[in-house]
Symmetry: C2
Subunit: 481 residues, 2 copies
């Protein structure tokens, strides 16, 4: 017990764990190694910083290093854990100067997050081409889209920022046309952000509709919302290459079916085609990996290695519908698992909780959300016989001003009637309604039970039959057939 609780990674999961542990076990030591300079930043807020909705980068920081110190956490930035020896219970740490040392641990939490994948594209060394997966990239994008004489350097007001990179991007002429490669939620948010900054934005998405995990109804409505604000959305449009010598000049889009690829001239590209868990430090340990090559954990966040936990974007979590490990890297999951593991390591065993794959996204005035399993193949692979219905219903009583069409999709298992998943898209209080379905999923509710939920009715907020109840009613009819 004399060896410390070592945490690798100082973001949501790592610092939640360290903070909770510190409160619960004030007499034990906790050390957090962070390879970079940034800690505890709001990844999900970066598009809104770029959009200009957020004035200062420092607003996106939850905790400063000194606040972490004040909590009694021994935070070491610029220290990368490069190897773990689970037998000796030691980690190997490399400093930013290239020195190496070892450190013993009592318990270890791997909270190393994920990194952006770029597919076939190497954005490094191409001016105007970016991925958006850390604050330095957000600061660089913000600088790049500003006219050199109009850039407000005070926006990147965090000492950790890569000032040289910001300055270099600020000095370049502002772009007029941007390609967003990938129409997932980061792609959609970045498309909105760059449009707000005055760019002519093209979104390229490999498959048939945006936001693949949200289903077709949501994808199509979000596409319409983007296009209504001037974004050009290209679906079934895999990007083959970024073109440019020094600075980005165009992208090449595959059209399939033997057609020649199309070249779209742009002077900016943001690539958001996916992320991958950071697990290199565990190479050679024999640790079990799970879906997405994330570290497989049990319901208390324990990996297959003794006294080694994992949490956040590098770890799996149990899915509430299938009961199986899944990899859905999202903010709440990281915070919640970190906090639970902090308690568990401190001696109060706490489950990390299931995930339901709940996610929400904004595209200008459209709000969309999803939960559970929406995809037919995925449901069948999990042993279900999925039945789905989509309805369009009013968000308020029809006579009340501002009532807006809300599309609800529900998916249920034919045999049991159990809710497997759902999506909601609309413009009036649509996204938060997903929490009703998330709660129903975690309670293993059937659709007949959902149809009888006593949801709130008040003309300004919901019609007598809430859109979710309407959808449940229709899906019940189909289940009865």
């Amino acid at each position: 017990m004399s060896d410390p609780f070592v945490v690798v990674g100082a973001d949501a999961a790592g610092l939640s764990a360290a903070s909770k542990f510190r409160r619960e076990a004030p007499d034990r030591e906790v050390v957090v190694f962070e390879k970079g300079r940034w800690i505890s930043y709001a990844y999900c807020g970066m598009p809104y910083f770029i959009a200009g909705y957020v004035d200062r980068m420092s607003d996106l920081l939850s905790l400063s290093p000194s606040e972490v110190d004040e909590r009694g956490i021994d935070l070491r930035r610029g220290r990368e854990v490069v190897a773990v020896d689970p037998d000796a219970k030691r980690v190997t740490v490399e400093t930013s100067d290239g020195d190496r040392f070892e450190r013993a641990y009592g318990d270890l939490l791997v909270a190393t997050g994920a990194r952006a994948t770029t597919g076939p594209f190497d954005v490094r060394g191409v001016d105007g081409a970016f991925t958006l997966h850390n604050m330095d990239a957000a600061a660089a994008i913000d600088a790049y889209v500003s006219e050199p004489d109009a850039y407000d350097a005070a926006r990147a007001d965090v000492s950790a920022v890569d000032r040289e990179r910001v300055d270099r991007n600020a000095a370049m002429p502002a772009p007029e046309t941007a390609a967003v490669v990938g129409g997932g939620y980061v792609g959609v948010e970045v498309a909105e952000a760059l449009t707000e900054r005055g760019l002519d934005v093209h979104v390229f998405h490999r498959s048939g509709h945006l936001l693949s995990p949200f289903g077709e109804t949501v994808g199509n409505r979000v596409e319409a919302a983007l296009e209504a604000e001037g974004v050009t959305v290209h679906t079934d449009a895999p990007v083959d290459a970024l073109v440019g010598d020094g600075r980005i000049e165009a992208i090449e889009v595959g059209r399939g079916g033997g057609e020649a690829s199309e070249r779209v001239p742009v002077d900016m590209a943001v690539v958001g085609v996916g992320i991958r868990p950071n697990t290199d430090l565990l190479a050679g340990t024999g640790v079990d990996l799970g879906p997405g090559e994330a570290v497989r954990v049990d319901d208390h966040g324990r990996t297959s290695l003794p006294d080694v936990y994992a949490a956040g974007d590098c770890a799996t979590a149990r899915h509430a519908v299938t009961g199986e490990p899944d990899w859905v890297p999202l903010g709440l999951t990281a915070n919640r698992a970190g906090r639970a593991i902090g308690a568990t390591v401190a001696g109060d065993p706490t489950p990390v909780g299931d995930i339901a794959g709940t996610a929400a996204v904004k595209a200008f005035d459209a709000e969309a959300a999803r939960v559970g399993i929406l995809d037919r193949d995925e449901a069948e692979a999990a042993g279900f016989d999925p039945v789905s219905e989509t309805v369009t219903a009013g968000s308020r009583s029809g006579y009340y001003p501002g009532a807006a069409e809300t599309d609800v999709t529900l998916v249920a298992d034919r045999d049991t009637g159990r809710l497997l998943g759902g999506s909601i898209v609309g413009t009036d209080r649509a996204a938060v309604r997903i929490d009703t379905l998330a709660t129903a999923i975690e309670a293993d509710m059937t659709v007949p039970k959902i149809e009888r939920l006593d949801l709130a009715y008040a003309p300004p907020f919901s019609p007598v039959w809430d859109p979710i109840l309407v959808a449940a009613k229709v899906l019940n009819g189909t289940l009865d057939d």
Copy 2:
């Protein structure tokens, strides 16, 4: 089976039942007796009509009599069922001309709704004094608050309207100061409506905070929201009398503690102190009554009389928390129970569903909602040991523009950790969040389980830890003590 399904009352419960029955049993007869001329109107929309948010009274009608006819329902307006003979299975009907006849029924649904109580006040015969419990009253109030030369008669564009009453009220000089007697949700909505119409509004509420069933946190914040818009709220202020000879001149407010009552001059009063179920037609039948003197029903809406059902504001429903009959007259409950009974009578037994007492209300920019059991005494009477916490949390990520303080109260049972009730009040998507708690209550969830719900996180809609999760976390801490 040859005698018809007779429905008494042509509003939400009655017409939902008749419509569902007609679809499920197209060959059987259904007769709906309605004592008045109005059918199927949106009671909850009346304050918004008075406010001027809704232009035409006809917008508040869900179904016209001819649409009911088209559904194959035999609707008889101006026919009041005054007695039921459960042994002979016959009802006695009185026409608006005073004639009486009898009609046999195979099954009977009592969906007679409720009527406004006025406490010690008789508003009839006092010009400028109203209750708001039907469309004629709404039309009269709308006419009364208009300047005679500015009244738009086209607003009351429904033939059923009591035109003489409207004309008489339209001809009176418009009031400047109004008393709203009773600070329940109708009182709050009417206060907003009359303020929107330019009146100086005083709300008088008997107890210490508005919206008693919503709890003190909500009541105080709604009071602040009303006062911010110029409404004067008087709490602990029971009204003793309406004063006026012909037209209302003042109200007298008791101050308690032996103090003399205060006279507040007003030229309008709207009394909303409560409603009472309409059950006179069942007098002498020996039917079991339940809470609130409403007709006691089982989980399929059956009364204690054979083949007699009751639904809507005149009937009880089973409360999801206590499992006992309760009386919470609200719109969804009526629609849902009616629809279920229509199916049951048609041969497809369908439960009416539990209620959770879910309700929402708007007061200018404030939104409030409640569910379950919030009151300590009520919880104790039901055998629980209630523990409660209230938190204030942001509605969005702190850095995202528009994040607003949201107050969440959760009440749980100390022994089991089960959620008993909750309330939410705020200005940003606050009310619809109650549906998460309503779903949790119907699933008998514990607070630890709620703390681990995978609710949606997206900066524009919710912080990482949704206000409900924050409240669950805090209440869990208290439960652990």
